[in-house]
Symmetry: C4
Subunit: 277 residues, 4 copies
């Protein structure tokens, strides 16, 4: 059965290698072209939003966007067509991103202005990591992911605390400052509190009363102090990960093949004596 491959199957496999692969010349070329087109499409949506440029080059931008959308549509169809498990692609993260990247243009016939959403194509830039496909880069990426994943729960608890603190202090500032100095409502005060706590400090809203400024000073110093907490969490996680990966340069017990502790004289799993080669 396996030998009886129709021309159709061969074509499908060839397309698959070009689109999904990065080892052949054609596959690599396709990836680079794709990257360029994605960058171009993001740039076009940006330029369109600049009034002065849109007025001058409106037709050029619209035509270019349609060409890119058709290119993306063909690519999307070929991806589904060439994949052996089309559904798993369609419902994968990249599959959904690819679909959302082309939908807004077609929707703009029905809902005007929805074309603006095509900026979501920027997400396709994430493919860069796959396209560059460097062991080095992806290695770093996965380390970053691991460290962030390990600190996730701690960071959620941390953000939760920040939100409660912001609600409380924001409400107090609303009562203290009143509506004259920009603290027009509790939600606005909470927004101001987050702006201050994260040391962003726009200055569109700023306390003017003495008590308000004292509370604000307290919030700033607190924000300055607690910036240490997430940093401490992630750093400890990074250092820890490093230590977990490096132990003993991977020396293994000759008897049970499990990794041994640094400076061990005996394997702590099977009690076998460790020979220092």
């Amino acid at each position: 059965m396996r030998e009886v491959k129709s021309k159709f199957d061969i074509l499908r496999q060839k397309i698959y290698i070009i689109i999904y692969g990065a080892n052949t010349f054609a596959g690599r070329l396709f990836d680079l072209i794709l990257l360029g087109v994605i960058l171009l499409s993001v740039l076009l949506v940006m330029l369109e939003s600049v009034e002065r440029l849109d007025a001058q080059y409106h037709d050029f931008i619209i035509i270019s966007e349609w060409i890119i959308t058709i290119f993306f549509t063909i690519e999307y169809i070929l991806r589904i067509f060439s994949n052996r498990k089309p559904w798993s692609y369609i419902f994968s993260f990249y599959g959904i991103v690819d679909l959302i990247s082309i939908l807004p243009m077609y929707l703009s016939f029905i809902i005007p202005g929805s074309r603006m959403l095509s900026v979501i194509r920027a997400l396709r830039l994430l493919r860069l990591f796959g396209i560059l496909n460097l062991v080095h880069f992806t290695g770093q990426e996965s380390k970053l992911k691991l460290a962030i994943k390990a600190s996730r729960t701690k960071i959620i608890v941390f953000v939760y605390f920040i939100l409660i603190v912001s609600i409380l202090l924001g409400s107090i500032m609303y009562v203290v400052e009143g509506k004259e100095s920009g603290f027009t409502s509790i939600p606005t005060s909470i927004y101001w509190c987050i702006v201050t706590l994260t040391t962003v400090g726009y200055g569109d809203i700023a306390p003017v009363t003495t008590l308000g400024q004292i509370i604000a000073s307290f919030i700033m110093i607190m924000g300055y102090g607690i910036i240490a907490v997430p940093t401490g969490i992630v750093t400890a996680e990074f250092s820890n990960m490093k230590n977990n990966i490096k132990p003993n340069d991977g020396k293994k017990c000759v008897s049970c093949k499990s990794e041994v502790v640094k400076d061990a004289s005996f394997c702590h799993h099977c009690g076998e004596k460790i020979r220092n080669a």
Copy 2:
């Protein structure tokens, strides 16, 4: 004596399990309802402060707040009633928070406007940690607490230094800049100095003279440099704690008395079998 339990005692115990417990279905349901009502009550106080919304839905918001206050009052009474040591609850952190959450509404009969203080209900959100009662979460929480506790003294010393520096530099800036550029008094200048040192930078007050800008640049770089200090303190504390907690809780080999690795079956120093007591 113990068998002679009056119906009253049984009721009290049942209520206790529902309100304080989280293991039964009823207890869990009560917790979730409570969480929802707390969130709703905080949201209502927020919405009321938005003028546009208050004008439109004033009656609806007031009635809802009264319903919630009555619900909280009943809950508060039941908590006192069902607890064997009512006084220890009343004077506990949550007991006081619970009382303060309901008082403002009743006080609003006497002192108008005091209802605004009911935003203190947000503190009740802290119960979430108890309600979710996840080993994972509370474990993280206690670790965070430990690390922050360990770095407490260092952070107090640090904040004290920052305050002295702010008083000194704020006063100098007041002399240098004068009243034209917003440095109207020494307290205001100190406020500005804290705003700058913590890298918040509202911009409501900003130096305009050359000397003022030079001093301000110096303050910024200093602030940028010393942000490292609390971070360093907390991170070192985190890393340290991790190292202290991980190594097998200090279990030792019965033969050579050296500390053993976590999950070890044999001592890696002398090869002795480890007995898990």
Copy 3:
């Protein structure tokens, strides 16, 4: 000769114990009073700078400041008088601070307005560490000092780099943005660059041209990235210090009395066998 202590000498010694000591009741009381007076004097200078308060309580503030100045003058004279090595006190850090704290008031007869400088008294607040004299606190303080001292050279190199980068990028922004958007001169542009690089961001000067905003974005991301460098330096120093202080819980060799390595079987100084007690 030693027995022949004149009444004068005894008085001098008593004053010395009260002023410099903190172990006797009188010494402790004096310290607390001194702390209170210092806080009060700083507060007074602050209040005087607030126009509204100064107009109302001018006479009261002036009289209070004179009383405090006389108190400080007496204290200063007694410190010199009671100290066996008066010159070493006079030229010590605190001796100079104490003198500068009282001079401005006397100078205000000759140079009006110089009284404002008396805010330098805030430096006397540093005595708090001596007054509280807690082993715990001073221990922390010295640790902080050690860690900061160890990272000093690295931080100087770091600040030097930041300054050169600010000069370069500030000049480029001056050329790019021009005088319309607030970049009126290269020094002002450098000031703006430091404001941006340290993530303070007042917003009194902000780029408006597209190229300027692109360069500004680049500066911000760079500033965001290099904030990691001083933090990394100090944290590593902290962690390192901790590891250097903690090893082996201070176990010592019985033969040469030097501290031994953790898990050592033999002293690495004299080769003596280590007995695990």
Copy 4:
């Protein structure tokens, strides 16, 4: 042939020692003078940009700049002349910087205003590290370089993520906020997003709608959280480097082959004397 050194060759060598060397008195003096002239030239360009000063001292500044430029030109020619491999100097980093430092003045005959570019001379300040030539300083510098180099790839990945996030969130904010509140185009919105994410927060553009403020709050907390990532990376790198450098450069005991402690006289495992090779 080697003995037949023309006077020309001797002169060249003498100049080389003065310009490139720092061990002789003349060489050291030259370095200090050079440093002074560089600082002066940077200062002059700065002062010229201040309108008020330029109006008053225009002629003085122009003449001084020409003197410095001629000094730099002579130095540049001598560096090429005295160097045995002139081309390797010309195309080295410092060679190019030296050339660019003098070019703008000569170009100002042809293109007016290009003189402003002479601020690039600030780059020459980097020579300070060479001039001070302190083992201590350069040691620190190289450590900094190593740590930054080791974290380079991770930081590139990190910056890339930030850019994509900024493009996405900036576009969303453009759609949400509209042109009234300063979000005039997608590039401007992206600029605002970077300003917010890096916690700079100028406030020249700030969200005014409720939804915009919620998204902005989310961006701020995210920015506040991810500031931890580069810090964690660099810190872990620093700590790691320290551990790799410190432990005795991997010296081992000749008897039991285990690594020995720094400065050890005896192996702490087997008591063998350590021979310092």
